[in-house]
């Protein structure tokens, strides 16, 4: 199951420190300045600044960052099979 991280009810990217190599690509890419290298690994230094653009997931070659999206139907609608 895809892990989910939350802060005050808001979704956050999850970072697998075992997979992270500390290359810093995500830190350099993050336009919100939410990511930083801490202890040689990527971490959400300023999670409140994260806007969940999910670009960090794309830049990570190790698959260490996950930004899952829940797929739901607008309330009150039910798709026909």
């Amino acid at each position: 199951m895809t892990p989910v991280a939350m802060l005050s009810g808001q979704c956050l990217p999850t970072i697998d420190v075992e997979l992270c190599t500390g290359c810093g690509d995500c830190v350099e890419l993050c336009h919100a300045g939410a990511l930083a290298l801490m202890g040689g690994k990527a971490a959400l230094e300023s999670p409140w600044d994260c806007d969940y653009c999910a670009e960090c997931e794309g830049i990570c070659r190790q698959g260490a960052i996950l930004c899952p999206f829940e797929v739901v139907v607008e309330r009150g609608l039910l798709p026909k099979s």
């Binding site: 997979l19 997931e57 999206f69």
Partner: protein, 226 residues
């Protein structure tokens, strides 16, 4: 009542061996070679000769390929009960990727000659393997069809529609969570292309992308796009 050996408990999780009785599992078990790897140790290299089928007893590994320029791409992360390196046992080729332990890991190796012998002597295993391979082949056939006849936006729409239809049928099913990387793998494209497809669907008013959620605003129009 004695507990089943840890190895049999792990083997039961493997789809190839799930239909075997205890005697059958014991016959598999006696052919297993247990190997332990510290974090960072390489189990096998891409292009190397195939030793056999690996089953993860504990720990985690990353299976990855390296480009000519030295860039790595992780194909999968294998955990307890999962198998890897099936294909070269049967097509005689080399290891298609490199496997490296992410943490202290214990593996069971079923040597190639033993695996091939088991397939010949245990029809239950042979049928289970064919079932799994057939499922992979069906999935790839559907992917080829999608790649041939549908554009990326249509393929992403199909993925989203399938997710909400499944949840709509069974109220006990939690809304699925997919990363854009997972959607890309399902659609046979790159992650950034999925991002553009989602934006295109949003601009059409078919979906709305929120923080951590894709809200399907018009399932009917989504189905039309598929």
């Amino acid at each position: 009542m004695l507990e089943a050996p840890a190895s049999q408990t792990v083997l039961r999780q493997v789809p190839y061996f799930a239909d075997l009785d205890e005697a059958g599992l014991a016959r598999i078990e006696e052919r297993l070679v247990e190997r332990r790897y510290e974090r960072g140790k390489v189990v096998f290299m891409e292009g190397g000769s195939c030793q056999g089928l690996y089953v993860v007893r504990s720990g985690r590994l990353r299976i990855f390929k390296v480009s000519a320029e030295g860039r790595e791409q992780v194909l999968m992360v294998a955990g307890p009960g999962e198998t890897f390196n099936e294909v070269p046992n049967f097509d005689g080729g080399t290891n298609p990727a490199t496997a490296e332990a992410l943490e202290p890991t214990t593996l069971y190796l079923l040597p190639k000659k033993d695996l091939l012998s088991i397939v010949e002597t245990e029809p239950v295993v042979a049928r289970a393997m064919m079932r799994v391979f057939a499922s992979h082949l069906r999935h790839l056939t559907a992917l080829v069809e999608d790649l041939s006849f549908r554009n990326v936006t249509s393929r992403v729409a199909k993925i989203l529609l399938a997710q909400v239809q499944r949840a709509g049928v069974d109220a006990d099913v939690r809304p699925p969570r997919l990363t854009q990387q997972q959607m890309a793998a399902m659609a046979g494209t790159a992650r950034e292309v999925v991002g553009r497809a989602l934006k295109a669907l949003e601009q059409q008013g078919v979906i709305r992308v929120e923080r951590g959620r894709v809200v399907v605003v018009s399932p009917e129009r989504l189905a039309d796009i598929v």
